[in-house]
C-alpha cells in the first residue's frame, strides 16, 4: 500500500481512529489512505462530522492514530513537529499582542537562527504579501474577520513550514471576503511554495484552490472519491463559472450526497 505513495510528502496509510465518548465508542476513520505530493495542495471534503478535522490533527501529530501510520517526509509522525503550520476557522490570534507580534509567535517557539530584526522583517514581508501592510501594530480586535484570518495565515507560514494545514479557515467569512482570501492563497502559494491540506465544506473553494479533491465517506470515514484537477496556470474567479467547473461541482455534489446517504444508512 505504502509503495504507491513513496514520493508523497504527506502519507496517511491505513489509518483508523476511534474516540471514546460519553455515549460509547465513536469510530471516525476507517482504513483511510491518502497522499499529498510535495508542493501539492489537496482539499478534503465530506459530510459534516465525518472526521475531517481528525485528519488534520493526525497530520499535525496532535493525535495518535489507533492503527495505521502517518508519514511526513518519510518519517513516522508520533508527536507534533515544527515543520507544520496550522490555521483554523477561528483565527485564534492572541488579543494582547499586536498583529506583528502574533505573526512572529511561531518564531519564538520553533528553533531557528533568525535574530529579532530578521524575524520582524520576515513577519512584515508576509503581512505585506497578504495585504496587511500598515496594520502591523494594530490589535486583533481592531481588525475585521477577513483581516484576522489573513494574519492567521501569516502566522501559519512564518516559520516556513513544509506542510500547511487549513481547517475550514474561510468558513466563517462572508462570500466576497472569502473570494478575496482565495486569491490571497494563490498568491501565497506562488511566493512561498508549501504542501497543503485544506479541509472545507465549500465545493467551489475546493476546486478553486486545490490540485486534488478527496471526498470522504460518512462516518467512519474512508476515501470515497478522488479527483485530480487540471493545472490551470494563473487563476481568476471566472474559472469557477465555466462549464467544466460546473460539471466538476455537480460530480462532487453527487459524491457528497452519496456520502451522506451512507452515513444515514450506517446510523
Amino acid at each position: 500500500m505504502k509503495t504507491s505513495h513513496d514520493r508523497d510528502l504527506i502519507v496517511i496509510d491505513g489509518v483508523s481512529h476511534t474516540f471514546a465518548t460519553n455515549s460509547g465508542n465513536l469510530q471516525v476513520l476507517d482504513d483511510l489512505t491518502l497522499g499529498v505530493p510535495e508542493n501539492g495542495f489537496t482539499a478534503i471534503v465530506g459530510p459534516s462530522g465525518c472526521g475531517k478535522s481528525t485528519v488534520t490533527r493526525l497530520v499535525a501529530g496532535l493525535l495518535k492514530p489507533d492503527s495505521g501510520t502517518v508519514w511526513l517526509q518519510g518519517e513516522k509522525v508520533t508527536s507534533p513537529r515544527a515543520t507544520v503550520g496550522m490555521a483554523f476557522q477561528n483565527p485564534v490570534l492572541l488579543e494582547w499582542r499586536s498583529i506583528l507580534k502574533n505573526v512572529m509567535l511561531p518564531l519564538e517557539i520553533v528553533p531557528n537562527d533568525l535574530n529579532q530584526a530578521a524575524r520582524e522583517t520576515r513577519a512584515r514581508d508576509l503581512l505585506k504579501l497578504v495585504g496587511l501592510a500598515g496594520f502591523e501594530d494594530k490589535r486583533p480586535s481592531e481588525l475585521s474577520g477577513g483581516m484576522r484570518q489573513r494574519a492567521s495565515l501569516c502566522r501559519a507560514l512564518v516559520h516556513r513550514p513544509e506542510v500547511l494545514i487549513l481547517d475550514e479557515p474561510f468558513g466563517a467569512l462572508d462570500a466576497f471576503t472569502r473570494e478575496d482570501l482565495w486569491m490571497t492563497m494563490h498568491r501565497l502559494r506562488e511566493e512561498e511554495p508549501f504542501t497543503g491540506v485544506l479541509i472545507t465544506h465549500d465545493l467551489r473553494e475546493s476546486i478553486f484552490l486545490a490540485d486534488e479533491v478527496i471526498v470522504l465517506s460518512g462516518r467512519p470515514a474512508t476515501v470515497q472519491y478522488r479527483q485530480a484537477l487540471p493545472q490551470r496556470g494563473p487563476r481568476n474567479l471566472d474559472q469557477l463559472y465555466t462549464p467544466e467547473a460546473t460539471e466538476m461541482l455537480n460530480i462532487l455534489r453527487e459524491q457528497i450526497r452519496i456520502a451522506r446517504e451512507s452515513e444515514d444508512a450506517g446510523a
Binding site: G61, F88, V110, R139, I165
Partner: protein, 251 residues
C-alpha cells in the same frame, strides 16, 4: 478635566447633604457625627491614624499577597486537572460559604496575642476564593485551538502556560482581584475590631466605641474608605498595565 471635577463636586454635595441632615435634625454628637466634627477627631489622634493606618494597610496587603499566591496555585491546579477541580471545588465552596465573621473569634483564640498573624490570616482566608475560581475558570475555558496552535509547533506545557494561558487569564484575574482587595480589607478590620488590645484602624474604631466617641468612629470610617479606595485603584492601575488590551476601544 471633567473626570476630576464631576466626582469632586459629587463628593462635596454628599458632605453638604450629610452636614445639613445632622444640622436640620439637630442630632447630638453621640447620635450622628457631622463632617465638621471629623476633622478635630482626625487632628486629635493624628499620630494614631498614621501608625494604625499603616498597620491596617500592610496587614491587608500581606494577606492579599498570600491570597494571590495560594489562589493562583489552587486555580492552576483546578484549571489544568479535571480530577482536582471535581475534588477541590466542593471543599472550596463549602469553606467560602462559612461567614468569615464566625471564623474571626476562632482564629483570634487559636493565635491569641499574635495580632499580626491572625489579622493577616483572616485577610487571606476571606479573599483567596474569587482569585482561585477566576484563574481556574480562565484556564479551563481556554479554547483548544489556542493550545493546538502552540502544541503543533512542539511547544512544552510550560511554554503554552506562559505564552497563552497566563496572559489570557489576566483580565479574569484582575476582575477577581478587585473583589478580593475589598474582601481582604473587610477581613483585616473584622479581626482588628475583635482582637483584644489590638492595633490598626479597627482597634481605633473599637476604642471609639468603648468611649462613645462618635466623631472618632466616623473619622475611622472615612480613613478606611480612603485606604480602600487607594488599594482599589492600585489594582486598577496594575490591570491597565498588564491587561489593558482586554479593554475595547470605544466605538
Amino acid at each position: 478635566m471633567r473626570q476630576i471635577y464631576v466626582p469632586l463636586l459629587a463628593m462635596i454635595i454628599f458632605l453638604l447633604f450629610w452636614e445639613a441632615l445632622v444640622w436640620v435634625n439637630d442630632w447630638p454628637n453621640y447620635k450622628m457625627a457631622s463632617p465638621s466634627d471629623l476633622w478635630p477627631a482626625f487632628w486629635r489622634f493624628k499620630g494614631l491614624f498614621l501608625t494604625y493606618g499603616w498597620e491596617t494597610l500592610w496587614r491587608t496587603v500581606v494577606g492579599l499577597l498570600i491570597a494571590i499566591g495560594v489562589g493562583v496555585l489552587l486555580g492552576m491546579v483546578m484549571g489544568f486537572s479535571k480530577v482536582m477541580r471535581e475534588g477541590l471545588y466542593p471543599l472550596l465552596v463549602g469553606f467560602n460559604a462559612i461567614p468569615k465573621a464566625t471564623v474571626v473569634p476562632i482564629v483570634a483564640l487559636m493565635f491569641v496575642g499574635q495580632h499580626d498573624l491572625n489579622t493577616v490570616l483572616i485577610a487571606f482566608m476571606i479573599s483567596f476564593f474569587p482569585i482561585a475560581v477566576s484563574v481556574s475558570i480562565g484556564l479551563s475555558t481556554l479554547e483548544p485551538e489556542y493550545r493546538d496552535i502552540l502544541r503543533s509547533l512542539g511547544a512544552s506545557q510550560l511554554t503554552i502556560f506562559w505564552k497563552i494561558a497566563l496572559p489570557k487569564t489576566l483580565p479574569e484575574f484582575f476582575g477577581a482581584l478587585k473583589v478580593a482587595v475589598t474582601l481582604a480589607f473587610i477581613g483585616t478590620n473584622l479581626m482588628e475590631i475583635v482582637s483584644p488590645h489590638g492595633r490598626g484602624l479597627g482597634a481605633l474604631f473599637d476604642s471609639g466605641k468603648t468611649n462613645s466617641d462618635y466623631p472618632l468612629m466616623f473619622a475611622v470610617l472615612i480613613a478606611l474608605a480612603v485606604l480602600g479606595i487607594a488599594l482599589y485603584y492600585v489594582v486598577v492601575v496594575l490591570e491597565k498595565m498588564f491587561a489593558g488590551w482586554a479593554e475595547r476601544a470605544p466605538d
